[in-house]
C-alpha cells in the first residue's frame, strides 16, 4: 500500500477520518498478539483463523490482525476480540472453529478460554483481574492496532499531538508543557524530561541530536520491546515532538539486536511515516525538518548508559566517559544530544494531546503519570502492567499479578535489575515511586519487577547480579572492573559454603567504595542488590557462613536431594531419568540417592510424581 504525503495538519485529519471509515466495514476485529506470543504459536493461530474465515466467507467483515502485546503474557497466545473486548488465553489452532462459531457468529464468549475471577469466567478485559486495577494510558493502543500499518495508528489519533505541537506551539512551549507535567525519565534515573530538553535547547552548537534509547538491557524488563513492537508510531511521534522541542534535525533509535521484531516494526514505521511526510523535510508544512535511522546494539549491557551508547553510535567500544560534560552539551559527535528512553518518549504524545493538567491527575505529586512494570518471576499472572505511580507492591503482585505461584510465601521483589535492590515483605504496602524506592535502597529503574518466593536464596540472587555486572563491566575504571570481581569472589565462596567471618562486612565496605568511586551508572549501582539483600536478609548470609546451610536450598553444596522412604513407591521413574545413574533401587524397595555420584541436577525431583524427592 502506498500512502499520501501530508502537506498540512488538515491532510492528516482527512486521512484519519478515512482510516476510521475504512475500519467500520469490519463488524469485528480479532487481535492476536504476534510479538511476544509468537513463541507460543500465535502465528499458527493467526493462519488457522484466516484460512477458516476465508473458507466461511466471514473474512469480508471480520478483520484478523497480528497485533502487539496485550499485556497478560501468561495467557500466551492471547487474543482480544473487538467490539466485545473478549480476552482469550492459551489459544491453539484447534480452538479456531469454536471461536468463529460462538463469538464471531453469535457474539458470545468461549468461556473455557477466558481468565477467571473468583472462580467465574471473566470474559472481557474489563472484568479480568489482571486489568481491573491497571491504568493503561501509554499501553492503551498496544495490542489494538496492526503495528505494520500507519493507518491503524492514525485512526486512533497517532500524530495528532505532533501536529498540534508543530502547528500551534513554540518549542519553548512544548518544553514548558512537558516540564510542568512532571514527566520523569522512565529508563532508570528518573531525571525530569522537560528540564533535560530545556538544557539541550539552550546548549550552543549545531546540529543537535535526539536518541531513543531502546537498548533495554535490564534482565527482566521488556516494556520497551513491547512498545516498539506494538505501537512504534507512538514512539516515533514522541521523538518528533522531542526533536522539535530541542531543535534536533537528526535522530537515532538505538535498539537491541536481540529484539528482531522490534527492529522490523520500527523500520516499517519509519518508512511509512517518511512516505506520509511525518518525517523528513518540512513536516506537515511547519518548516521543521527531522529524520531518523535505526541502529542495532551489539550486545553490551553497558551501552544502556548514555555516554557508552553514544560511543557505540560513533563506532567505538561502548565505554562510558566521565560526566560532565553531559550529553545535552556534548553528546554524539560532541554536539548537544538528548537521550530519552522508549517509554518516556511514548508518554510525550499523551501530555501534548491531553495537556499537563490531565497528566498531573495521574500518579502522585512529584511522581506524576503511570509506569509500566514487567511483572515476572514466581507470580501467577506475568506480563506488562501499567499502573499509576504510587501504587503499592501488594496491589501489583496480589491484585493484578494474582499472587505467588503455587500459593507459596512472598519473600522479596526485585526492581531495577542489576542496579536495583530486593524489597522485602515489610514494604509490600509502600507506595512505589522514584523517591520511595530510593529511600529503601532500590531504584525504579526501567521497571522490571521480579517476584521471589521462599525458595529463592537471597545470597544466590546477589551473586547472580554480581556475576552479571562482572561480565558486563566494560573494564575502563578500576572500582567496577576489580571491585565487582572481589565482591563476586566473596559471594561465590559464601554460596559454596566457604564463607568466612567478616565477609559480610567486607562486602558492605567494598560496596560503599564502588558506589562512591565508579565512573558510570553501571558501577555506581552495581553493589545495590548486594547491599539491599544484606540490609534486609542478613540472617541468610549468616546462615550460609556460619551453619553452611542455604535456607532456600538453592546453593549447590549447601543442600542435597534425599528420597523419603515412606513416600517412595519404588516406581523407578527417578532411577530411569537420572542422567548419572546415581539412584539405586529395585521394584518394591524404596530408592536411594548415591550422594557421591549425584550432580544435583534436580531431574529426580522434577520426575517424581509422589513428591518423595526432598531437598534437605
Amino acid at each position: 500500500m502506498s500512502y499520501p504525503k501530508f502537506a498540512a495538519p488538515q491532510d492528516l485529519e482527512r486521512f484519519r477520518k478515512q482510516a476510521v471509515e475504512a475500519e467500520k466495514r469490519f463488524r469485528a476485529r480479532v487481535l492476536i498478539c504476534t510479538t511476544g506470543c509468537r513463541s507460543k504459536g500465535a502465528l499458527e493461530v493467526c493462519e488457522a483463523l484466516r484460512a477458516r474465515l476465508g473458507a466461511s466467507g466471514l473474512d469480508k467483515d471480520v478483520a484478523v490482525i497480528g497485533a502487539g502485546c496485550h499485556g497478560q503474557c501468561s495467557l500466551a497466545p492471547a487474543v482480544v476480540i473487538e467490539p466485545w473486548n473478549y480476552l482469550y488465553g492459551g489459544v491453539t489452532p484447534e480452538d479456531v472453529a469454536e471461536i468463529i462459531e460462538t463469538t464471531l457468529r453469535q457474539g458470545k464468549p468461549v468461556e473455557r478460554l477466558c481468565d477467571k475471577a473468583n472462580g467465574k469466567p471473566a470474559p472481557t478485559m474489563g472484568e479480568a483481574p489482571f486489568y481491573r486495577k491497571q491504568k493503561r494510558e501509554v499501553l492503551a493502543h498496544c495490542g489494538r492496532v496492526d503495528p505494520k500499518k500507519i493507518e491503524d495508528a492514525i485512526a486512533r489519533g497517532a500524530y495528532v499531538a505532533a501536529a498540534k505541537a508543530l502547528s500551534t506551539m513554540t518549542p519553548e512551549l512544548v518544553i514548558d508543557e512537558v516540564r510542568e507535567s512532571g514527566l520523569r525519565g522512565r529508563g532508570g534515573a528518573g531525571f525530569f524530561t522537560g528540564v533535560k530538553w530545556g538544557f539541550c535547547r539552550k546548549a550552543p552548537g549545531r546540529p543537535k541530536y535526539l536518541i531513543c534509547n531502546a537498548d533495554e538491557g535490564d534482565p527482566g524488563a521488556f516494556m520497551d520491546r513491547a512498545l516498539l513492537e506494538g505501537v512504534p508510531h507512538q514512539v516515533l511521534e514522541g521523538m518528533i515532538i522531542a526533536a522539535y522541542a530541542i531543535g534536533a534535525s537528526h535522530g537515532f533509535v538505538y535498539v537491541r539486536a536481540e529484539y528482531p521484531i522490534a527492529v522490523e516494526h520500527v523500520g516499517i514505521a519509519i518508512r511509512q511515516a517518511r512516505e506520509c511526510g511525518l518525517l523528513g523535510k518540512n513536516i506537515l508544512g511547519s518548516g521543521f525538518d527531522f529524520d531518523l535511522e535505526v541502529r542495532m546494539g551489539a550486545g553490551a549491557f553497558v551501552c544502556g548508559e548514555e555516554t557508552a551508547l553514544i560511543a557505540s553510535l560513533e563506532g567505538k567500544r561502548g565505554m562510558p566517559r566521565a560526566r560532565p560534560p553531559f550529553p545535552v552539551n556534548q553528546g554524539y559527535m560532541d554536539k548537544p544530544t538528548t537521550i530519552n528512553n522508549v517509554e518516556t518518549l511514548a508518554n510525550v504524545p499523551l501530555i501534548i494531546e491531553k495537556g499537563k493538567d490531565w497528566y498531573k491527575t495521574l500518579g502522585t505529586p512529584g511522581n506524576t503519570g503511570t509506569k509500566i512494570f514487567a511483572l515476572a518471576g514466581k507470580v501467577n499472572n506475568t506480563g506488562l502492567v501499567e499502573v499509576q505511580i504510587g501504587t503499592t507492591l501488594r496491589e501489583i503482585i496480589y491484585d493484578i499479578g494474582g499472587g505467588i505461584a503455587e500459593n507459596r510465601q512472598f519473600k522479596a521483589a526485585q526492581t531495577g535489575g542489576p542496579s536495583g535492590g530486593c524489597i522485602p515483605a515489610t514494604f509490600l504496602d509502600l507506595p512505589i515511586d522514584y523517591d520511595s524506592l530510593k529511600k529503601i535502597g532500590a531504584i525504579m529503574g526501567s521497571g522490571g519487577l521480579i517476584v521471589m518466593d521462599e525458595n529463592t536464596c537471597m545470597v544466590d540472587m546477589a551473586r547472580f547480579f554480581m556475576d552479571f555486572v562482572q561480565q558486563e563491566s566494560c573494564g575502563k575504571c578500576v572500582p567496577c572492573r576489580v571491585g565487582t570481581r572481589h565482591m563476586l569472589d566473596i559471594l561465590t565462596r559464601i554460596c559454596s559454603g566457604e564463607g568466612q567471618e567478616g565477609d559480610i562486612e567486607r562486602l558492605e565496605q567494598l560496596g560503599r567504595e564502588i558506589k562512591a568511586a565508579a565512573l558510570c551508572g553501571l558501577g555506581q549501582t552495581a553493589p545495590n542488590p548486594v547491599l539491599t539483600t544484606i540490609q534486609y536478609f542478613r540472617e541468610e548470609y549468616e546462615e550460609h557462613i556460619r551453619l553452611k546451610r542455604c535456607p532456600a536450598k538453592e546453593c549447590r553444596g549447601l543442600f542435597r536431594y534425599r528420597i523419603d522412604e515412606k513416600a517412595c513407591k519404588a516406581c523407578g521413574l527417578c532411577r530411569k531419568h537420572c542422567p548419572v545413574q546415581a539412584i539405586k533401587g529395585e521394584k518394591k524397595v524404596p530408592h536411594v540417592i548415591d550422594q557421591e555420584r549425584c550432580t544435583l541436577c534436580g531431574t529426580c525431583l522434577e520426575k517424581c510424581t509422589f513428591s518423595a524427592v526432598l531437598k534437605v
Binding site: P219, F222, A298, G299, E314, G315, A376, I450, T603
Partner: protein
C-alpha cells in the same frame, strides 16, 4: 590446532560497496552485516575490509572483541541460547544451563566438535513469561526443565 580457513572475500566486498563510504561510525553496522553473511567474522575478511576502507584494523578488532554479538570463530549449525535473565534465574535457569552443558559436553561460548551446536548465554530474551527459556536458532522453548533438555536438543541432531 586446526589450520585457519581463508574465507572468500567477494561477499564482503558487496557489503562494503553497499555501505560505502564506510566511516568510523559505521563499524558496528559493517561488522553486523559481515557476520550476517559469514556467520562469524573471518580474520582474513576483517583485515582485508579494514585495509580497503582505510579503517585501522586495530579499531575494527577493538570493536569486534568488545561486543558480545560478534564471533571470531565459526559457530555450529545450530545455536542454543540459554537465557540468564532474572526471571529465568529464579525459576531455575541455572540448572537448565547446566543440563545443556552436560548434554552437549561444551561450555558457554563453545561449539561441539561435530560443529552441530554452539552454546551461548544471553542477558535476557525479553520473554520472561516463558521462564526458564532457551532458544534453539529461532525457536523458543519455554518453562524448561533439566529433564526436557535432551528431548528438545534431539530434534536438531
Amino acid at each position: 590446532m586446526s589450520v585457519p580457513t581463508i574465507a572468500p572475500i567477494e561477499p564482503a566486498l558487496k557489503v562494503v560497496e553497499e555501505l560505502s563510504p564506510v566511516t568510523e561510525g559505521q563499524i558496528i553496522p559493517l561488522l553486523q552485516r559481515l557476520q550476517d553473511v559469514y556467520g562469524y567474522l573471518p580474520r582474513n575478511v576483517v583485515l582485508d575490509v579494514a585495509r580497503r576502507t582505510g579503517l585501522p584494523a586495530s579499531r575494527v578488532y577493538g570493536v569486534a572483541t568488545f561486543y558480545a554479538q560478534f564471533r571470531l570463530k565459526p559457530g555450529g549449525r545450530h545455536t542454543v541460547r540459554c537465557c540468564r535473565g532474572t526471571a529465568c534465574h529464579v525459576r531455575g535457569g541455572k540448572t537448565v544451563l547446566n543440563a545443556v552443558k552436560s548434554e552437549l559436553c561444551i561450555d558457554d561460548g563453545e561449539t561441539t566438535e561435530d560443529m552441530k551446536f554452539s552454546l551461548e548465554t544471553v542477558a535476557c530474551l525479553g520473554t520472561c513469561f516463558l521462564a526458564p527459556v532457551i532458544m534453539v536458532n529461532n525457536d523458543y522453548f519455554g518453562s524448561m526443565t533439566p529433564g526436557r533438555i535432551k528431548n528438545v536438543l534431539d530434534k536438531y541432531k
